[in-house]
Structures are given as structure tokens and as C-alpha cells.
């Protein structure tokens, strides 16, 4: 064989090796995967938990119906009305049990408040409580809700955000709700898809952050112009304003958004969360923005917010931010941030982001690094709610990620038409008339939610199929709560234009846990914003009391820690929003402990 031919063969071999690399990687992944079909015994043995779907059997038959917007948008209705299915957890009557609130969106369809009867069943009491019939022409369609005791009465009040008029309902000692929107001074119209309670100035009263998605001048139910779509797929500048309403302590709120620096951008905010990410004592705000970069607003002494997404490392590459979750994912006593985005094989590969804090810091601005790829939680699909949950009580935060956009006629696809328009210039993309009709086509639909189990050593493993959590509805909002008093975090998944799904979580009894129900005295009574630091034997980890997070959700108020096989904890340190620090030890495991903020 002559030398030239030998060289040709060698080069061809090199080429063949190169093109076979992805195939080899997939094969290796298949060979090393220990995934199996849902099996309770095997799942409990291998992963320490199993999810049992119990929705109907516990009395929950809620089905979300999407809002019908102006007929000028009917050709793309499923993607315009792609949100609104939300779930929040509240103990509205202070009986110690977690209740479930679900929003509907179509006019005339009712929201639901499922009261926990304590015997493993639930009953919808929204109508008698006065918070069912809230999807009304002229007022708007429900998009989500958050619960917080804004008047420190001891009962959780309801804030409902819409594409339309936001509403505040005062809880009348668990017997009903009174609409107090007008006297509270809330605005007439915001196209909101996220809101959170936080006490930004630590004055003991909960303030209200509301994130705008569509521009607030757009009335989606009576459109004056079809030029209301994003003006860019990655750099949109025409979204809704974000708002901060400061609680005056007398039942009224004043809009301080501009004063505190929140009107610096017009991004399309889809999700938000607030936590003290720099240990300043003040809650910072993290925003997941669709059609652009995400943002971190650092709270400067409760006086103003400084937008520092880029400096913090997470505000440079524009993606489609859909959800924000905050958790101490490495048990290093600091908060990481998980933001879901969109990934569709062969068309758009954004990848989700897991931002972990580095040791670098610039003044009060922490610096984050995206380790989603290294930890195996990067490639979801069309992501929505992403929640940190310790599903097996082993002490490591796992991840539940909702996926799926529009499931319509099987074997059809809208991506081609979508890609054409979003690749176009501002003049094209901004006008809804230029968006091709969907014609009942599926658009990133029938996707399966992910359950990523944290091995505690820096890697996550996807186990949804094996643990019974194989759900392929168009999931949006995900909340966790101990619904049955077992010390395990059950899952509630709200699905767009589809039924809600509830999973009872069976956790191995070998794993211990501890929970804390906090009540503020100097701080807001809900204790929202309090950081709970658990000193375990060998590690220190932290959680916080959330006023709403992920995508349109709020999980149980009580702070819960899984402990694995540990038989005791050293102590728990509570940093209350007021600045009070309280340390308690000698606590019994496998109980929720009620802790009232020390007044001295």
C-alpha cells in the first residue's frame, strides 16, 4: 500500500472517530445509567423515596383553564396564554395544616383553596372564603398568588396577581377574606407573572414586589395594537415595569419602585425571589427575565436596590429566564441560585443555570459561577418552575424541574415558524400579526419533568421515571409541602390548561428531619426573609423563609431540613429580618418546632 493511501486511510479514521464521539458519549451514558421503571421498593432502597400520585384520591379535581385573550391574538393563543397555572401553600386558618391554593385563568373559571382536613383529604373552600371567582372581564385573569401576613394579624393574607388588576385580600381570622385592594392603594393594571412578599426595609411590615411581563399599557383582553410582542428574542427592552409597594403599616402601600431603583430596566420578568444572598441582613431580589439577561438587585440598607446582574456574573448571556429558586445546594452555608431556561434539541440550547457563589466578592456584591453543566442539571427542556427540595430527607437539596410548553396535536411542531420570527429584526418580531398561526400545533409539548437527585458530592442524577414522578403535562408551577404530617415534602404541580397533579412522598424511615415554624414579633409576623442556619454534626447549612419563589409558586412556610442518618443536630441559628439573632440547641428531631422571635 503506498504512503498516500495509508495517509488517506488514517485521516478517514480520524474523521470517523470524531463523528462517532457523540454516539459514544450517549452509549456510555446508557451503560452507566441505573434507571428503572417506577418501583416503590427499589426506589426506596436505592434513592430513599417514592412519589405516589394521589390527586383524585385526596379530593382534588382542579383543572386549569387558560385565559382567552383578544381575538387579534387568537392565532397564537396557546403561546400568549401559556401561563397562569400556579400553586401556593398556606395554612390559612392556623390549624397547623398546609392548605393548597390554585389559580385558574379563563374568565368565569374559579380559583380553588383546598382546605386540608387533616385526614389525608382536602375540600375546596375558595367560594365560601370569597376568593374563588376572581377571573372577571374588566379585572383580568389570575396568574398567581402569594401569601403573607401584611397586617401582622397572625393570619396569612392573599395577594393575587393578574394580567389586569392586582388584588389584596385580608384574612379575617381564617373565616373568610375581605377585598382591600382599593384601600391598600394598589394600581389598576399590571401584566404580572410574579410577585413576592419581602420586608425590604426591615421595618416589620411586609412589602410587595410585583414583576411585570407584558408592558403595563397592554390590555391583553382588549388590544389597541398588535405591537406588543418582545422587540428582541434576547435583548428585549419593552417588557413591563417592576414594582415595589412599601407597606405603610396602616393597611396602605405606596409605590416606591422608582425611588429604590427598580425602574432601571424594562425586561420581561417572569419569576422572582428574595433572600439575603450577601449576608447584609437585607433581602436582595433576583429576577429571571424572559428574552434577556437575568438580574440581581442588591439591597443597600433598605434604602435602594443596585442592579448588579453583570457584576455578579449572571447577567451577561441572555437566555429565557423562567424561574428562580434559591438554596444551599452544596451545604456550604451560602445560597446558590437555580434559573430555568429553554432547551429544545437541535433548535435552541440555552441550558439551565445553577449559580453558586465563589469566594470573589466586590464590596457587597457576591460573584457567582454557573456549575449547572458540571453538576448535571443543565439540560432540561422548555423549563418552568424549578424548585430545590430535599425529597429523600438525606440532607441534600434535590431539584424538581417542570418542563413542557404547549402540548397539542401529537406529531406536529410549531418550532419552525417560531424560529423564523424570533430570528427576525425588531420590526418583525414585535408585531403579533407577523407571528405565524399555531393551528393546534404542539410546541415543545409532551415533555417530562425532571427530578434530579443530589448525591451530595457535586453531581445530580435524573430519577423521575424510577421514583414514580414521570409527568409529561405542561407543568408550570411547583410547590412542596408536608401535606400529610409525615415529615416528607409532598409535591404539588400545577399544569397549564390541564389538571393539577399531587404526589405523596414516601420517604425511607431511616432518614431523620427537623422543621421550624417561625413567628416574628419585631420582624414581620410571617417571618418572611428569616435565615435559618442549621449547625449539623460536621456541616452547616442554611435555608430561608420565602415570600414566593420559583415560577409563580410559594411552598410551605415551615422551614424543613432533611438529616439523613444523623441522630442529632448541634444547634439552629435564626437570623430574623429585624436583625435579631437567636440560637437554640437541644431540639428533638422529626418534629416541627414553633419558634417565636425573642423580644429581648
Amino acid at each position: 500500500m503506498n504512503k498516500e493511501v495509508q495517509k488517506k486511510i488514517a485521516v478517514t479514521l480520524i474523521f470517523l472517530i470524531l463523528v462517532s464521539i457523540p454516539f459514544g458519549m450517549k452509549k456510555y451514558e446508557e451503560l452507566t445509567s441505573d434507571s428503572f421503571d417506577a418501583d416503590m421498593e427499589m426506589a426506596m432502597e436505592r434513592y430513599g423515596f417514592f412519589l405516589e400520585e394521589v390527586t383524585q384520591s385526596i379530593g382534588v379535581g382542579f383543572v386549569h383553564r387558560r385565559a382567552t385573550v383578544d381575538e387579534k391574538l387568537h392565532h397564537i393563543l396557546p403561546q400568549i396564554s401559556s401561563v397562569g397555572a400556579s400553586v401556593t401553600i398556606v395554612d390559612f386558618n392556623n390549624n397547623g395544616l398546609n392548605d393548597i391554593f390554585l389559580t385558574n385563568s379563563e374568565f368565569g373559571e374559579k380559583n380553588a383553596l383546598y382546605k386540608n382536613l387533616g385526614d389525608g383529604t382536602f375540600i375546596d373552600v375558595a367560594q365560601e372564603m370569597g376568593i374563588a371567582d376572581l377571573n372577571i372581564p374588566g379585572l383580568g385573569a389570575s396568574m398567581g398568588a402569594i401569601w403573607g401576613d401584611y397586617n401582622n394579624s397572625g393570619y396569612e393574607d392573599l395577594f393575587l396577581y393578574r394580567w389586569g388588576k392586582p388584588e389584596l385580600f385580608r384574612n379575617e381570622n381564617g373565616h373568610g377574606f375581605t377585598r382591600v385592594t382599593e384601600e391598600a392603594g394598589l394600581p389598576d393594571h399590571i401584566n404580572a407573572n410574579t410577585a413576592i412578599w419581602l420586608d425590604y426595609n426591615r421595618n416589620g411590615y411586609l412589602d410587595l414586589f410585583i414583576g411585570g411581563y407584558y408592558h403595563e399599557d397592554v390590555n391583553l383582553f382588549d388590544l389597541s395594537s398588535t405591537h406588543m410582542m418582545p422587540d428582541s428574542y434576547e435583548f428585549a427592552t419593552n417588557g413591563g415595569l417592576n414594582y415595589l409597594f412599601e407597606n405603610q403599616g396602616d393597611g396602605t402601600f405606596i409605590d416606591v419602585s422608582e425611588k429604590v431603583g427598580l425602574h432601571v430596566s424594562r425586561r420581561w420578568t417572569l419569576a422572582s425571589a428574595a433572600a439575603d444572598i450577601n449576608d447584609s441582613g437585607f433581602p436582595d431580589i433576583i429576577l429571571a427575565n424572559d428574552y434577556g439577561v437575568d438580574e440581581i438587585f442588591i439591597n443597600r440598607n433598605g434604602e435602594y436596590f443596585f442592579n448588579t446582574g453583570q457584576e455578579a456574573g449572571l447577567g451577561f448571556i441572555p437566555k429565557s429566564g423562567m424561574s428562580v429558586a434559591i438554596g444551599d445546594v452544596m451545604n456550604q452555608n451560602n445560597f446558590a441560585i437555580y434559573i430555568t431556561n429553554i432547551s429544545e434539541a437541535g433548535v435552541l440550547m440555552q441550558g439551565n443555570n445553577l449559580w453558586v457563589p465563589t469566594r470573589q466578592r466586590s464590596g457587597d456584591i457576591p460573584r457567582f459561577r454557573n456549575v449547572a453543566g458540571n453538576m448535571g442539571v443543565e439540560i432540561g427542556e422548555w423549563g418552568y418552575g424549578g424548585q430545590f427540595i430535599d425529597l429523600n430527607n438525606n440532607g441534600n437539596l434535590d431539584l424538581y424541574v417542570a418542563n413542557g410548553y404547549v402540548s397539542d396535536e401529537p406529531d406536529t411542531d410549531y418550532w419552525y415558524d417560531y424560529a423564523r420570527v424570533v430570528g427576525g429584526n425588531r420590526a418583525v418580531i414585535i408585531d403579533a400579526n407577523n407571528w405565524p398561526p399555531m393551528n393546534n400545533r404542539t410546541f415543545s409539548g409532551y415533555q417530562t419533568n425532571k427530578i434530579w437527585l443530589n448525591d451530595g458530592a457535586g453531581r445530580f442524577r435524573e430519577v423521575a421515571r424510577s421514583v414514580g414522578g414521570d409527568l409529561n403535562l405542561d407543568s408550570r408551577s411547583v410547590a412542596y409541602a408536608d401535606l400529610f404530617g409525615t415529615g416528607a415534602m409532598d409535591l404539588i404541580v400545577a399544569n397549564q390548561n390541564q389538571p393539577v397533579v399531587i404526589y405523596r412522598n414516601h420517604v425511607t424511615p431511616d432518614h431523620n428531619w427537623i422543621g421550624f415554624k417561625l413567628e416574628g414579633t419585631k420582624s414581620n409576623r410571617s417571618a418572611i426573609g428569616a435565615t435559618v442556619i442549621l449547625h449539623r454534626n460536621g456541616t452547616t447549612t442554611r435555608k430561608f423563609v420565602s415570600g414566593g419563589d420559583a415560577f409563580s409558586s410559594q411552598s410551605q412556610r415551615a422551614v424543613h431540613f432533611g438529616l439523613g442518618n444523623e441522630e442529632s443536630i448541634r444547634s439552629v441559628e435564626i437570623r430574623w429580618p429585624s436583625g435579631t439573632v437567636q440560637t437554640i440547641d437541644g431540639l428533638e428531631l422529626n418534629h416541627y418546632h414553633k419558634i417565636i422571635e425573642a423580644t429581648e
Binding site: 464521539i21 434576547e234 419552525y416 429584526n425
Partner: protein, 278 residues
């Protein structure tokens, strides 16, 4: 006097033809990234660039025994770094490496027949579509920035006398967009929307004008540009998101092979008539 000399130097300044491509693509990448952050990150871009240059250097040395100028690998690496979209690093390196390696494997009469990046992208879409996508969204929403890139690009392309390819392709694209909109009943603007994005800027300015993979005559090049747009129309009717890449992947090598055969035949017939004349 000094200023006169300087003006004179500027007037007479011209880039060596081999550097025009690298300089143009570098200018576009730097300007677009600093303005809009078009890259997934410098790290990913650098990996694509490095993989292209290393593969070129190693394979060329292995095959010919000589080191070669890396400007063409540099362009391929840039294109892969911009066009590949993936949260992972390896697709950037692999696309660049496959692009370059294809030049040494698929050859006809002493020359490669696919535009390397076009080949790399299409193969990656076939073998690794669950790990990567191709840049298909716009750079910013600023019309002027987009217009500026087109203008600078066309200016440079006209300097190397290849503007006719771009012009024929663009005109054909618009014509076929109109035909598609009539056929499907869709909006004309939605049909032409993709050409306002960066994917097409790279496609038009760098891929279909690649001197190594274009045919020898001006008329032939214009015909090929038209045929690419025609085949692309069929891919678009089949709802292929990356229709232009597939069209070039098919039309490009066929055109090149026909061109080579035609040239050979022409040369033969010329030499035949020359010998008859003798």
C-alpha cells in the same frame, strides 16, 4: 508633507487577499459581542478557534508534510464559535474539528468540496442535535447594527469580487419567500424574517462566498446561488429550521463536481482542438 504621506499611505493601503476574510470575521465577532454579547462566552469561542487551528495544523502536516497558513482554519473556527449554541464546551470543539477534518477526507480532483463550517454544522445537527443548536436568533434589536454589518460585509465581499453571489442569493431568497408566502398563505414578513438575523449574515458573507468551494465562472456562481435559494425553499416548505445550511450542503458539492468535470472536458476539448489545429 508628513500628513500628505500618511494620507497617501492610507489611500494605498490594502489588505492582502488572504487576510480579508479573517479580518472581516474578527471585526464582526468583536463588534457584535461587545455590543450584544452574541457569543455564548469567550471560553467556548476560544475552544472552537483552537480546535480548528490545531486540527488544520496537525492534519495538514500529516498529509503534506508541511505547515500551512491557518487563516482558513481561523475563519472556520470563528464561524463554528459563533454558530454553535450549546451550554457545553465539547460541541464547539467537535464542530470545528469535524469542519476542518472534512477538508482532508472529502476531496475531488485535489480540492475539498464542502464549505468546512457548513459541513461541520450539518453533521453536528445530525449526530449531536440533543447537545447543540445553531445560532438562529438575532443580535440585538438594533436595525442600524444589522445594517452596518451587511454594509461592511458587502463592501469587503465586493473588494474580492464576489458580491454577485450575495446579490443573486438575496434576490432569490426574497423571490422564493414571496412564493412561499403565496403557497402557504403565510405572512411575507414572517418568510423574510430569518434573513434579518445573524445566521444569514454568516451564511451569505462567509459560506456561499467561500472561494475554495465556489465554482469557477461568474455565471456559474450566480446559478449556484440561485439553486441554493431554490433548494432552501423546499427545505423551508418542509419546515427545516436550518434550511440554508442543508441547501448549501447539497448544492455546493454537486455544483463543484460538475464544475470540475466541465472544466476538465473543456480543457480536453481545447487540447483536442489545439492538436487538430497543429
Amino acid at each position: 508633507m508628513a500628513s500628505f504621506q500618511l494620507t497617501d499611505k492610507i489611500k494605498n493601503f490594502s489588505l492582502p487577499p488572504g487576510l480579508i476574510g479573517p479580518v472581516l470575521i474578527t471585526a464582526i465577532v468583536v463588534a457584535a459581542h461587545l455590543s450584544f454579547g452574541i457569543l455564548d462566552g469567550w471560553q467556548k469561542f476560544a475552544i472552537a478557534l483552537a480546535a480548528a487551528c490545531v486540527t488544520e495544523a496537525v492534519l495538514h502536516k500529516f498529509v503534506t508534510g508541511k505547515w500551512r497558513n491557518l487563516s482558513s482554519a481561523y475563519i472556520s473556527g470563528n464561524s463554528a464559535g459563533i454558530l454553535v449554541r450549546s451550554p457545553m464546551l465539547w460541541p464547539f470543539a467537535l464542530c470545528a474539528a469535524i469542519s476542518i477534518a472534512s477538508k482532508y477526507v472529502f476531496r475531488y480532483k485535489g480540492t475539498h468540496i464542502w464549505n468546512p463550517t457548513n459541513f461541520g454544522i450539518v453533521v453536528m445537527l445530525l449526530i449531536a442535535s440533543d447537545s447543540m443548536a445553531v445560532l438562529s436568533i438575532q443580535w440585538g434589536s438594533n436595525m442600524w447594527a444589522m445594517a452596518m454589518i451587511w454594509l461592511v460585509g458587502f463592501f469587503v465581499i465586493s473588494k474580492v469580487k464576489l458580491f454577485h453571489i450575495c446579490a443573486v442569493y438575496m434576490v432569490s431568497f426574497f423571490a422564493f419567500a414571496w412564493i412561499r408566502s403565496v403557497y402557504t398563505g403565510g405572512m411575507f414578513l414572517a418568510e423574510v424574517a430569518p434573513i434579518t438575523g445573524p445566521m444569514y449574515q454568516l451564511f451569505v458573507l462567509f459560506m456561499i462566498t467561500d472561494p475554495k468551494t465556489t465554482v469557477s465562472t461568474k455565471n456559474g456562481r450566480m446559478l449556484v446561488a440561485f439553486l441554493i435559494a431554490l433548494v432552501e425553499m423546499f427545505f423551508r416548505l418542509g419546515e427545516a429550521v436550518y434550511a440554508p445550511f442543508y441547501a448549501l450542503f447539497i448544492v455546493g458539492p454537486i455544483a463543484l463536481i460538475i464544475d470540475k468535470l466541465w472544466q476538465e472536458r473543456k480543457a480536453k476539448s481545447l487540447s483536442k482542438s489545439a492538436s487538430v489545429a497543429r
